[in-house]
């Protein structure tokens, strides 16, 4: 039972990170139907910004908690700025072009950003300071649940609830839902579609940055390539949950993280990813729009 719980919380932590990144994929997809391949790179840039800020502040002798706050704030600001700029440069001029063109532009952007960070920083792995505080009460679960696991899971839940409320009750949230349903109609009733899309990118990128700093601090290392696999998995999670749906992304992330943890724990980590992708294929065969996705009715 203890082994089961250990695996369960390990999977939950990993799933929370997937969920944080998947939210960005799902929001962007919901609004402009684009698989934003550069999203994983935004996560990586968030982690790097966090590292740099933490390094500078650490050298200046700031206390640990201040470093954590500043690192996360800076990571969020910069990731949001990158997300906003990328959309403006690589996707906005392509609005109205064939469906695949922005996808290729996104793949190109992803290659560009990876190499940009590699050249400007380093190709080596860098140690990431552990910024997350040790929580006293978590000690009782020693071995089952670490305090960084706890912080990651709680942050993800809070963020997800906040995002759902934002989409549901604010004016901007309403505008986003309207744009997702029908862009032309939304424009007609006075929604500024450009602003909505920019805001979507900014929010999605900020969430990825939070995920980036949390996981980097949890694992203790980063390099320029971390965004690729995390992005791929998060994208899988978004589709699993039903792309375009926010609770779906959350659920998809957790299901994926747990599947991987149990596959490793009870079968073999050799086939960890095989299980993850096989689950995806199976779910899509029986529910072609993902777990929480709505089946679109096609009309002529």
């Amino acid at each position: 039972m203890e082994y089961f719980l250990e695996l369960f919380f390990g999977g939950l932590t990993r799933g929370s990170i997937y969920a944080l990144i998947a939210l960005g994929y799902t929001m962007v997809y919901g609004i402009i139907e684009l698989i934003n391949f550069a999203h994983g790179e935004i996560y990586m840039i968030g982690a790097f910004t966090g590292l740099i800020v933490a390094g500078v502040l650490g050298a200046l002798g700031f206390p640990g908690s201040a470093i954590l706050v500043f690192a996360i704030v800076a990571a969020v600001i910069y990731s949001a700025a990158y997300g906003f700029t990328i959309e403006k440069i690589a996707y906005r001029p392509l609005r109205g072009a064939a469906r695949l063109s922005p996808l290729i532009s996104a793949i190109g952007m992803s290659i560009f950003l990876q190499n940009y960070v590699m050249l400007a920083q380093t190709s080596d792995f860098l140690p990431f300071p552990s910024l997350l505080p040790e929580l006293g009460f978590v000690k009782h679960f020693k071995g089952i649940l670490g305090s960084s696991d706890f912080i990651i899971i709680v942050t993800t839940i809070v963020v997800c609830v906040a995002l759902t409320l934002f989409i549901k009750y604010t004016k901007m949230g309403k505008a986003m839902r309207a744009t997702a349903q029908n862009r032309t109609m939304a424009q007609l009733v006075g929604v500024s579609v450009d602003t909505v899309i920019s805001v979507t990118f900014i929010i999605g990128s900020s969430l990825a940055a939070v995920g980036g700093v949390l996981i980097a601090s949890h694992i203790g290392q980063i390099n320029y390539y971390i965004g690729f696999i995390a992005g791929l998995k998060a994208f899988t999670a978004a589709v699993l949950g039903g792309i375009g749906s926010i609770p779906g992304a959350m659920l998809g992330g957790l299901v994926l993280g747990l599947t991987e943890a149990f596959a490793t724990g009870y079968v073999s980590s050799d086939y960890e990813d095989v299980f993850a992708f096989a689950l995806l294929v199976l779910i899509l065969i029986f529910r072609p729009s993902g777990i929480m996705g709505k089946e679109k009715i096609q009309k002529v």
Binding site: T85, I104, Q121, P127
Partner: protein, 430 residues
Amino acid sequence: MSNVTKADTGASQNPVAFFLTAGCESFAESLRKSVLASLWFIFLTFPIMVIKVDTINKTIDWRWMNMAYIGIGTFVLSFVWRWALARKELTKEESTRENISEKMLDRISSNSYAKYGFLALFAAAAVVFPHAVGMYQTNIMISCLIYIVLGLGLNMVVGIAGLLHLGYVAFYAVGAYSYALLNMHYGIGFWTALPIGALFGVVFAVLLGLPVLRLRGDYLAIVTLGFGEIVRLVLENWGDVTMGPSGISGIDRPGFFGVKFGVMDSITYAYYIMLGLLIFTIFVINRLQNSRLGRALLALREDEIASQAMGIDRTKAKLLAFALGSCWAGLAGVVFAAKTTFINPASFTFWESAIVLSVVVIGGMGSIRGVIAGAVILVLMPEYLRAFSEFRMLVFGATMVLVMVFRPQGLISAKRKIYTYVKGKSATNE
């Protein structure tokens, strides 16, 4: 950049003024925009370009020079960017679908003397190519030819049938491994393995296609991506059969009726095999595009429900396209294994699928000439960019973005067949 259309008047002015004020009302405004862009990018790149921290020794390296480079670079580039966008906007009406090279090709093809003259000339050039240049050039040219064939195969799935396929490399791997394993265990030669590799590609495609082809758009994309990863992981982990990550070495090069060549000759030989395979591929795809199946697929791509109402069997048509596309991946895989003589799962990652897809989209979806152009650019560019060494992938990524931004329909776009009706005659086919 919302007021791009106002620059229409700018075209008649002199080009320098047009360049300086593209997309803006006045020079002052464009100057202001450029300064803002420059400041924005200085802000954006500040932590990553300027600061380099060492968290162990707590030292910080400030590289202020980079900030200056970024500032000046962005200032200049923002002019170029606005100018290029304004030009794209201006030329939109004249020719969205045609560019100079396309026009030239059209002109040549309309004159049959010029057409056959050029054809003979180019055919001759292709034939003497390996003798005229070094072995290295021939070798990368083979890679390029392999990518053209892969691109054409994927084009059938993505360009013609409109199915977004992100796991194409899985079938390439199936082809390569079927030759490598058959050769290792049973000593089966290249020519026997070629159809077998293609067959395996088809079998796998049908196995995957049957359950998943009813998925639409991006769901299909992620499932195919997942399938590609599963194939690679199985190759990596099923060590007893596939030799795992250490791969299979010492695969036989193609023989010629029992004659075996040295390295030099066999590379030349592989070049001719690939050339032959390419011509065959082009021939088949060309015929297929205009066949009943090809037209059915085009119709499906445009409107599924309408074409189903016209009596097209959706599943059958899609499955056929999927299987045919994979058949070429299998063929190319066999040639790849024979050419490198060593394969391991590292050659069949998701990036490979992404590159093949880029070949198709950058070249121009659905167009054979486009795919060729795309492969030439994407495969040969990194090779010739070796001079830029560490910057080459940066340039590569940026090029992908720029090509898409300025030519979203691809370099050479597909042309629809036009059927003209002439009174008194039956419909002719141009």
